[in-house]
Amino acid sequence: MPLILNEEQEMLQDAAQGFLAEKAPVAAFRKVRDNKPADGFCRDLWAEMAEMGWAGIIVDEDHGGSGFGYVGAGVLAEQMGRNLTASPFFSTSVLGATAIQQYGTQKQRDENLAAISSGERLFALAVDEGPRHNPSRIKFSAKPAGNGFVLSGTKTFVADGHVADKLIIAARTSGEQGDADVITLFLVDADAPQIRREPTPMIDSRNAANITVDGLEVTGDDILGELDGGYAALEGILSAGRAVLSAEMSGSAQQVFGVTTDYLKEREQFGQKIGSFQGLQHRAAHLATEIEMMKSAVLKSLKDLDEDFENAGITCSLAKAKTGQVAQLATKEAIQMHGGIGVTDEYDVGLYFKRVHVAQQMFGDAGFHSDRWAKNSGF
């Protein structure tokens, strides 16, 4: 398969460009940021996205989805990254939909996928327990009790955890911290009285929550995937998340780089355009090259997810590692090349800098993924 978008995917890209430019440009994100709505995003906008088939972008058509797969999800995420669009798309339509579609029972699929596609039910994945992403160190416990389990523990930085209707919680069903084989995923209602959700305002103005669960009783029916076999499922969900998050960061990096090269062509100092200075040209040319490398890694990871989901994990690590580095470089250079106005709140480049920082921390930064690559390669 060629490593380019097909005609259908290009049309989706055009549609997303047009829609977001009109309905959700950076100005709309600023509004959400400044008005601080409790949800952290605009419900009407989300409803419109769902109507266009975006909420069910990876969901099969039998469940009301649009069946575009991960390349389609990446195409949308890239455009959202360009516009800094805040929505439940990532948590619900990528993480939630992947979890249910790939690992859910028929019953779970029937109960949830259509509600994802329609945009009416929101999901969140609760995996991390500390400041640095490390899914192999899960302590959150699920103790066998009667016919089921009792869940207790704390999860940090659960994106959309504050607004989600359903939580997917990665818990330890036995064994020691660091022991990967005994993780189980549970799908639970987020509004259970034993669950306390504390919104954590983030530097990128997105919505996330710390979640504490104290003695929530669940049954075997609430297990998503296999008992004690949840780590592989978690890896699959995380892989999808890493690839789509990379696509979002790639969009942010490309957008901010475009804005920066435009500025280099306009801004004059010492009587000439600053873009004529070789000191800036070479940095811009290096960054442009790195952006091309990043785009290839991102597209490959999305294609691998569509073509061979089970074995796409390492390509997704490549994408996340490369994108983390390049998008950070792009946003840092954007600020520096803009000079003083680059650090003002009025200018958009700072918003990209903040978002990319959080996105690169999420589900593993570049260091996490190069370590993962090395381990996987046997060194």
Partner: protein
């Protein structure tokens, strides 16, 4: 089955039938590749058989027109042939500068008779070409070249010196940039000319590099007479007199494309399989990680960057085939490929530590790691330095203004 699928099946069967087992040993290197030319001697019977069978099918230059020795394949078909060849790890039957650099320029700028003579000679492996571009005073600023070419009525008279002419000592012909007008602005007095290396007055001197032996030479032109024409409709000049810079630029794009996708990255000198190499030399710690954490991180980074680069070659090739062209983006590939190649050998040198820095009594052994490491310093200089590539990207890809 679509036409392309049918073609793929045919090609697969043909390769299976015709490519000798010995020629399926991975990517070619400068040492084992089939260069062709008057002085060429096949290194093995298998190499000869493979070349002859490919030649009969037009597969030494698959995408060139049939009338010039190619197979007339479309871009899609050529890509399929390449994929199928790589799938069985087969070498290219013939590879040289004629195929990768002069050929594309002649296809774009040559007359029918020029193509007939020179492309056919390249396709048949009869003529080996070298490139006469750089001069001692014209490196990155190539257009300031001074090799003088005077119009003497029935012939051209050439005086001057070229440098970094790879393999000039074993090449048959040279494609050369010369100055035909010293009064015009520097880009407008240059002519692209084809010269037989056997001409009287040409002498060649190999250059010894920090790595020892090298393919580079100095080539001197002392009162060299070059015919105006090699036959009816077949001038020695390609394109118009004084418009050679257009041809040269076209050719440089192909050179960068070639340098940007060349094989050193895939052999033992690049960042591929560095981790495996490091484990053999250094070993693992109790947790199963390379017993040198700082080196481990650098290796992982280099391998990831290498992977992203390989994917970019794939993506840009697919984009070019889909009709968007590659254009100045070839400078991006050249830039990354040369920097990654250097990084790969630097890491290998670090992995082997003082062992790699030890040389025998005979000096630096040809083909050794140290030899590659030293030679690779040239990758970001030859074919346009890294800095020149960054200038090109700034201006031609990003459209940044000139001073």
């Amino acid at each position: 089955m679509s036409d392309l699928e049918e073609f793929r099946a045919e090609v697969r069967a043909w390769l299976k039938e015709n490519c000798p087992e010995e020629m399926r040993d991975g990517d070619i290197t400068a040492e084992n590749q089939c260069w062709g030319g008057r002085q060429w001697e096949f290194q093995s019977e298998a190499q000869k058989i493979w070349f002859e069978r490919a030649l009969a099918k037009g597969y030494t230059v698959p995408s060139w027109p049939k009338e010039y020795g190619g197979a007339g394949l479309s871009a899609d078909q050529a890509k399929i042939l390449d994929e199928e060849r790589q799938a069985i790890n087969a070498r290219k039957p013939l590879s040289n500068f004629g195929i990768s650099m002069l050929g594309p320029a002649l296809l774009a700028y040559g007359t029918h008779e020029q193509k007939k003579q020179h492309l056919t000679g390249i396709a048949r492996g009869e003529i080996r070409w070298c490139q006469g571009y750089s001069e001692p005073g014209a490196g990155s600023d190539l257009a300031s070249l001074k090799t003088k070419c005077e119009d003497k009525g029935d012939h051209w008279l050439i005086n001057g010196q070229k440098i970094w002419t790879s393999n000039a000592d074993i090449s048959d012909w040279i494609f050369c940039l010369v100055r035909t007008d010293f009064d015009a602005p520097k880009h407008e007095g240059i002519t692209f000319i084809l010269i037989d290396m056997a001409s009287e007055g040409i002498s060649v001197k190999p250059i010894v590099l920090i790595s020892g032996h090298s393919p580079f030479c100095e080539t001197f032109f002392d009162e060299v007479k070059v015919p105006k024409s090699y036959g009816e409709g077949n001038p020695s000049v390609v394109g118009e007199v004084n418009r050679g810079w257009d041809v040269a630029k076209n050719l440089l794009v192909h050179e960068r494309g070639m340098l940007g996708t060349m094989s050193p990255l895939k052999g033992t000198t690049g960042p591929e399989n560095l981790g495996k190499f490091a484990v053999e030399k250094i070993g693992l710690d109790a947790a199963g990680r390379l017993d040198d954490p700082a080196l481990r991180e650098r290796i992982a980074q280099a391998e990831l960057d290498n992977w992203a680069y390989n994917l970019t070659v794939e993506r840009m090739t697919d984009e070019a085939n889909a009709g968007n062209g590659l254009g100045a983006k070839s400078s991006m590939l050249k830039y990354v490929a040369s920097e990654l190649t250097k990084r790969g050998t630097e890491l290998r040198m670090d992995i082997e530590g003082t062992t790699a820095a030890t040389i025998g009594a005979e000096g630096i052994e040809y083909g050794s790691l140290a030899n590659n490491w030293l030679y690779n310093r040239a990758y970001s200089i030859l074919g346009g330095t890294t800095e020149v590539q960054l200038n090109i990207i700034s201006k031609r890809v990003l459209g940044l203004p000139s001073q």
